[in-house]
Amino acid sequence: MGNFGLLMEGFQVAITPMHIGIMVVGVMLGLIVGVLPGLGAPNGVSLLIPLTFTMDPVSAIILLASMYWGALFGGSTTSILFNIPGEPSSVATTFDGYPMAQKGQTTRALTLAFMSAGIGALVGVVVITLLSTWAAEFALRFGAPEYFSVYFLAFCAFIGMGSSAPLKTIISLLVGLALSTVGMDTITGTLRLTFGVNELMGGVSFLVVVIGLFGIGELLMTVQDGLRFRGVTSRIDLRDVFRTIAELPRYWATLLRSSAIGTWMGITPGGPTAASFMSYGVARQWSRPGEPFGKGRPEGIVAPETADHSAGTCAMLPMLALGVPSSATAAVMMGGLMIWGLTPGPMLFATKPDFVWGLIASMYISNIVAVVLVMATVPMFAALLRIPFAIIGPVIVAICFVGAYTVSSATFDLWLVLLFGVIGYLFSKLNYPLAPLVLAMVLGHKAENAFHQSMILSDGSLGVFWSNPLVGSIMTLALILVLVPQLSRLVSKFRSRGTLRSAQ
C-alpha cells in the first residue's frame, strides 16, 4: 500500500493548526462566493490567487481547494432556500430541494444535500487516492504527441459530451485558444497578436477573463431578470438533522450510482454541471415508484448533490496527474499552480510528493470541515442574500474589479473585465459554454508547445499522432467522442423522418 503510506505523510502535512485554520477560512470564503450571485467558484478562486503569491504553495492550494468545496456547498444552499442556484452545478438541486423546503422541511432538505454532498466528495477523494499514483506513472510514458493527444481529447470531450450545441462549444474553445496566443511567444520570442497595443504584450491573463466572464457576466444575467429572493425559513433544527441522517442509508442505491456518475464525469471532462444533471435524470428513471420528482422527493436532492461533489473532487485527479483540468475551477487552480512555479503533471508526484499528498489529505479533512461549518452557519449566509441588491451588487462589482487589478496591477485589465463581462453575458444568454473557453486559455500554451514539438519530431507530418498504439488510441478516442454523438443525432433525425413518412 504505497499510496496509503504517502497519504499518511500527506495527513502530517495537512493536519497542522495553521492548515486547519486555512481550511476554515477557505470554506467560509467559499460559502460566501457560493451564496452570492456573480461570485461563483471559478471566479472566487481567481480573485484569491493574487493574494496567494507570497504563500507557501501547499498552504495556497489548501486555501483554494477549501474555497472550492465551500463554494459547492454554498451553491446548494441558495438552490434550496431561494430557488436560485449559486453555482451552475447546483441547478439540478433546485428541482426537488426548493419544493421540499417550501413544504417546511428546510432542515431535511439541507441535511440531505450536505450529507450526500459530503459522501460524494469522500468517494471522490478515495478514488483520487487509489488512482493518482497509477495515473501519474501512466503519464510518465507520455511524450509530446501523447500530451497533445490528451489535450485534444479534453477539447473533444467538451464538444461531444457537453450540453451545448457542438458548434458553439467549438467556437468557445477556439476563442480561448486564440486568447492564449496573445503576447510574447515563449518558443520564438516574438510578439503575437498585440496589434500595436503595448498593454497586450504580456498576454491576456486568464484570471482577468474568468473574473469578467463568470463574475460580471453572471451579474448581468442576474440583473436582467430582476432579483426576486423569496427565501424560505433558514433555521436549522438539530433533531431534524439527526433524523435525516438516520434516513440517509435508505438512499444507498442512489448514493452509489450518483457517486459513480460523478466520478466518471469528474475524471473525463464532463464536469460537475453535466454530472449533476445526468445523475438527476438517471435517478428519476431508475428510482422506485413513489412521490413524483420535482415535488420535493429526497432522491431528487441526493442524486445531483452526490454527483456534483464527487465530480468536483475528481476533477482534481486529471489536473494533478496529467495537467488536464476537467472543470473551469480546476482549470483556474491549475493556472494558479503554474503561477506558483509548479508544473502540474506526473513529475509533480515525483518532485513534490508533500504538495500532492498534502492536498489530497487536506481534501478528506476540509470536506468534513465544510459539512460541519455549513450546517452551523447556514442561517448567517442565507442572511447575505437578504441584503438589498443596490448594496450587495456594487460591492460584488467592486470586488471583481479589485481582484482583476491585483492580478498584475494593470489598469488596462479593468477594461478587459468590462469587455469580457459583456462577452460572458452574451455567451451565457445564447448558450455558448464558458468552461471550454477557460480550459482552452489555460491549456493553450501547453497544447501549442506539445503540438510544436510533435511537428518537429515528425517534420510536419500529422501522422505522428497515430505513430504508436498509445497516442493513436487516444486520438481515435477523441475523434469518436466528437463524431458519435453527432452521428447518432443524425440517425435519429432520419429515423423520425422515416416514421413520419411511413405514417403518411
Binding site: 493574494l51 518558443i187 503575437r192 474589479f401 479589485v402 487589478y405 445564447l430
Partner: protein, 160 residues
Amino acid sequence: MVIKRIHMEILVACLTAIAGVVVAGGSLELGVGWTDSGPDAGYFPFYVGLLLAAAGFANAVWTVIVHRGEAEVFLEQEQAMRLLGFFLPMVAFVAVTLVLGLYVGAALYLFYVAWRQGKYNPLWAAALGISFAVFLFVVFDVLFKVPLLKGPLEAFLKIY
C-alpha cells in the same frame, strides 16, 4: 422595442467569425509556414483563427437556415433598462477609478448606487461607500500588502 434572439445569434456568430479573421490576419504577418527550427510563430494562431472564422461563419449560416423566422425574444425593453441601469454606473466606476484610484472610485460607486437606485439617505449611502473603501484598504494594503490603485486623494493624504 424588443431584440429578437435570432438577430443576436447571427450577430454574435458573425462577431466570432470576424475575430477569427482578425486572428488569422494578425498571424499572417508573423509567418505561418515552417522555419529551420519548426513551425513559425504564427503557425498555431493562424489555424486557430482560420477554424474560428469557419466555425463562426458556419454557425451564422446554420442559424439562418434552421432557426429562420423564430420569434423568441432576446431582451425586452424593461430588461434592457435594468441592464443599462446596472452597466452604466459600472462603466463610470471604471472611468472614475482610472483618474481617482480604486478606493475613491469604489466609495463613489457604492454611494451613487445606494443613493440613486437603492433610495437610501445620502448620508447613509456615503457612510457605506467610505466604510467599504476603508475595508478594502485594510484587507489589501494593510493585511495582504497588495497595494491597490491610488489617486490624488491618497497622494494628498500621504498614503502610499
